[in-house]
């Protein structure tokens, strides 16, 4: 597609001007300096290079759902432009006379073929993108295609501009081929060659300088203003991807509140708790916001968004960018962004299910950023969701969010005539069975707790429970931004756990599993924690549990977010279910494993209702109904409650059942 080798010197002057403007416009990148430093962040070279190639250049996450319209579209645009970039670079070298003996010439057959193919790919991709923005438009994309969210020309303006560049490129190539090149060679430039038949070579000859110059100048203009447009993502998102520490992704940062409170020099009025001002976010959180490409994939999979709640993860991330650019480029005064433009209800609508983060092609870290803003609401303003406030107060007073008495934590066992071995008496055991608040107080989950005891006894495990010494892990409190309460619970539990000797903790609740296993470490509570699915699977594999395969029903498994997406455990619960199936069959719902749809109970949402739209659990349960199963298997206390509620709302009590995997295993003993 590229043209002459007789490049006039003045072109380089224009190129230089374009580059200067480009660099000037690039200064928006420096806006991330407004953010605070992140002492936990250290750049890791090898993973950064891996990320750069795998998630950046190869765009692995773009192709997550392999053959979706958007991924094919992006493949054509992205790789079309990689080819054009390569071709232009080679041509520049050739024109300068550098490495000429090693490089192909514009009319080298394979190079010509590749070059035109790249242009054609980009053209198809751009047309697909325009179609998607104006004819077959998903509702998560910015509503005004020509404005976007603060990008110059919006999405469609840029697409049309690129279209102009591609046409210009092909036309000037056609002119060059018509005027200078023999058709036996020119035919390899398969697009330009065909266009060259449109006019006589005299006409092409007259047009050539105009076509060439206009294409060159339009290209320079595109380069100069690239950082102001959506295409900036090709640079900034790639940088963000490289700099993302995937080990820290999704990790909520500890605030060490108790240390803060002991600090005698601490000034309550000055200290910032949580994030609302741009200065409260880390530079990486701000970089995330700049890196957002507004593809809408996060929003498309968000359970809150899909049930008409006022949350779009993309909107929140781009709100941050909008305010950041406003402050940095236009000197706008930004005091705080929680409240306006990011509303409290948006923040409370998040179930922290992690679907957005799983989907994001540029590795944005949504949940910790949302949690920081919730922290601002709770810790600085004292404004948790009013219904959540009640369960937080109960947790503070009684050590469980239901508000039942601390002294009745093992009543479920006593009432069932079970004598639980207590850590306070045994002091030492192989397995510490963490019952959790749901297992202790919620009637539905008490059945799971009893099933667990039956399993532990059947496998002859040396185990004990903490009994009244056990307390809420603080999961809901932490997701809700109540870091003080979380830390209070965590420190108290760690102190209790450290009194005893055990090899591992097992728990049927993925929230307890995640919190103790992944988060207590920050407070020197390091334990080996297993989810009951993993534990039971081990018992089956090692032959300690002999199961009678009894289930003849059709069954589906609902993935718990904090077991699946947050901890990557998809297989254990499925294997456990398979081990009790006789003639029954495990059928997957449409959204499963990493693409699973939340039950609506995570992120503290268990304790309050966002009034808008449909209930998340109803939508999920309908999916199970549509799968035509008799049993919905769960492996999470909250999922069990939410699915069981939905079962009743849908009036399926007589035809369907919600069962925790432990209940099925206990039946198979």
């Amino acid at each position: 597609m590229e043209v002459s080798h007789h490049v006039p010197a003045v072109l380089y002057l224009f190129a230089l001007i374009a580059v200067v403007i480009f660099i000037y416009n690039l200064r928006r990148f420096l806006a991330i300096r407004i953010g605070k430093s992140d002492p936990d962040y250290k750049i890791k070279i090898i993973p950064a290079i891996f990320n750069l190639f795998y998630f950046g250049i190869l765009q692995r996450r773009v192709f997550r759902k392999s053959f979706s319209y958007a991924s094919i579209m992006h493949f054509f645009i992205g790789f079309g432009f990689f080819i054009l970039l390569f071709a232009t670079t080679v041509d520049f070298f050739v024109a300068r006379g550098w490495f000429v003996s090693y490089l192909p010439h514009l009319d080298t057959p394979w190079f010509a073929l590749l070059n035109d193919t790249g242009g054609m790919m980009a053209l198809i991709g751009i047309l697909m993108a325009l179609f998607r923005r104006h004819i077959n438009k998903p509702k998560s994309l910015p509503q005004d295609a020509f404005k976007g969210r603060g990008n110059l020309f919006g999405d469609s303006g840029v697409l049309l501009y690129i279209l102009l560049l591609i046409f210009g490129g092909f036309l000037s190539e056609a002119a060059r081929l018509a005027v200078d090149v023999q058709s036996s060679i020119a035919q390899y430039s398969w697009v330009g060659y065909r266009i060259s038949f449109l006019f006589s070579s005299e006409t092409w000859s007259a047009l050539e300088p105009y076509l060439w110059w206009s294409h060159a100048l339009l290209s320079f203009l595109a380069i100069a203003f690239l950082p102001n447009t959506k295409i900036f993502h090709a640079i900034i998102s790639t940088i963000n991807i490289a700099l993302t520490d995937r080990d820290l992704r999704g990790k909520v940062k500890p605030m060490f509140v108790s240390k803060l409170m002991e600090d005698p020099d601490m000034d309550v009025d000055e200290i910032s708790l949580g994030s609302t001002k741009l200065e409260d976010f880390t530079w990486k959180q701000l970089l995330d916001s700049i890196a957002c490409t507004e593809c809408g994939r996060c929003t498309n999979v968000c359970p809150a968004y899909n049930t008409d709640k006022p949350l779009s993860p993309m909107k929140i991330i781009t709100d941050i960018r909008h305010e950041l650019y406003g402050k940095y480029l236009n000197k706008k005064e930004v005091n705080g962004i929680v409240g306006n433009p990011i509303t409290e209800t948006e923040l409370w609508s998040c179930t922290t299910c992690g679907a957005c983060m799983e989907e994001c092609p540029v590795l944005i870290n949504h949940i910790p950023t949302f949690t920081d803003m919730r922290r601002y609401l709770v810790l600085s303003e004292g404004k948790p969701h009013p219904q959540a406030a009640e369960s937080l107060e109960k947790t503070m007073n009684t050590g469980n969010p239901w508000g039942f008495s601390k002294s009745e934590r093992t009543k479920w066992a006593k009432d069932a005539g079970i004598e639980l071995p207590l850590m306070s008496e045994k002091k030492e055991a192989d397995v510490l069975y963490w019952v959790g608040c749901a297992g202790s107080y919620d009637p539905r989950n008490q059945k799971v707790a009893k099933a667990m005891v039956k399993i532990l006894e059947a496998a002859n495990i040396d185990y004990a429970v903490l009994g009244n010494e056990e307390s809420c892990t603080g999961d809901s409190a932490r997701r809700l931004g109540e870091e003080y309460l979380f830390e209070t619970m965590a420190l108290q539990n760690i102190e209790t756990l450290n009194k005893y000797k055990f090899n591992r903790i097992i728990t049927p609740c993925p929230h307890c599993f995640h919190t103790i296993g992944n988060e207590y470490g920050d407070f020197d509570g390091n334990y080996k924690v297993q989810h009951h699915s993993q534990f039971i699977m081990e018992l089956i594999d090692s032959g300690k549990l002999k199961l009678n395969k009894y289930l003849d029903s059709k069954i589906t498994y609902h993935d718990a977010c904090y077991l699946g997406r947050h901890n990557g455990e998809y297989q254990a619960p499925r294997k456990v279910i398979s081990s009790v199936l006789k003639n029954g069959k495990l059928i997957e719902m449409e959204r499963n494993k990493a693409n699973s749809f939340c039950c609506g109970g995570g992120g503290g949402n268990m304790w309050y209702d966002i009034e808008d739209g449909e209930r998340i659990n109803s939508v999920r349960f309908q999916e199970a109904i549509d799968t035509g199963v008799d049993i919905v298997a769960t492996a999470c206390s909250f999922c069990t409650i939410m699915m069981d509620d939905a079962l009743k709302v849908k009036g399926k009590e007589d035809s369907m059942q919600v069962l925790d995997i432990a209940e099925m295993v206990a039946t198979a003993l």
């Binding site: 409170m261 309550v268 200290i271 708790l273 810790l379 004292g382 009684t398 508000g403």
Partner: protein
């Protein structure tokens, strides 16, 4: 405006209640203590009155309870925005006569010269609902009970009182006034961490109950405490249809008292 708010620590609704050996109190070990519900609303109303009048004034949190367990609710009230606190420390046996409780408060608070004293309508444990009103009378303040809304007027206080059957009554009171607050008139705030941190530096004045010379003598005595008993009783009714119906009506009227 200087406002005093009475807060009491009571057993939370879900606490298991067992009578102790004296037969006059419950076993405290198994109880989770919390702030009396209507007192939380009273505190919130006090904080909102100060906020409505531009932040000028003071909210003083006042509580009488054993030394070891009250500070938690006092600190919580200070974290929510109370400016300082007065803690009257008592020892078992706890004061249960509302007149005596009010007399002790009156004696301890007489030099504070509050413009307004708020308390919850009644405590969730003993529920006599009298302490606030008696305190007002002892301190020579105007009083109102069952308050559902508070409006400040020039030198006066206009309150909305809850009557029976969904009726309300507006009453205007001169200052100083002592009113008891019904739950539900506002949304009590959640203590922010900033508030909790700030509360550490706020003053809690402790006074031993024995140092306060309460006026008067107890007017009632607490003789015994019971827990409710669940009981199943079956009576087989025999006879003609009329006799059965008569007997059933009789039981509904006299025994179960549902008609």
């Amino acid at each position: 405006m200087k406002i005093g708010v009475l807060v009491k620590q009571v057993a939370s609704g879900e606490s298991p209640l067992r009578i102790d050996t004296s037969g006059k109190w419950v076993v405290e070990e198994s109880i989770d203590f919390t702030t009396n519900e209507s007192d939380s609303y009273a505190l919130e109303e006090a904080l909102q009155i100060i906020e409505r009048s531009g932040g000028a004034g003071e909210v003083v949190v006042i509580s009488m309870c054993p030394a070891e367990r009250t500070p938690k609710i006092i600190r919580e009230a200070l974290a929510k925005g109370g400016h300082r606190a007065i803690h009257i420390q008592e020892e078992a046996p706890y004061e249960t006569d509302p007149f005596m409780v009010a007399s002790i408060f009156a004696e301890a608070l007489k030099d504070e010269s509050f413009d307004l004293i708020l308390s919850g309508l009644q405590s969730d444990d003993l529920g006599s609902g009298q302490t606030g009103v008696i305190l007002g009378e002892l301190l020579g303040m105007s009083t109102a009970t069952l308050v559902m809304g508070v409006e400040l007027q020039k030198g006066k206080l206009r309150v909305k009182r809850e009557l029976e059957s969904g009726w309300f009554q507006w009453v205007t009171l001169p200052f100083p006034a002592c009113i008891t607050i019904q739950s539900g008139l506002n949304q009590p705030r959640y203590p922010s961490l900033k508030g909790i941190m700030g509360a550490k530096k706020k003053e809690i004045k402790s006074i031993a109950k024995s140092d306060v010379k309460g006026s008067g003598t107890p007017m009632q005595e607490f003789s015994r405490m019971y827990t409710h008993k669940a009981e199943k009783r079956t009576e087989m009714i025999e006879g003609s249809t009329d006799q059965i119906v008569d007997r059933m009506i009789d039981i509904f009227k006299k025994n179960i008292k549902v008609i």
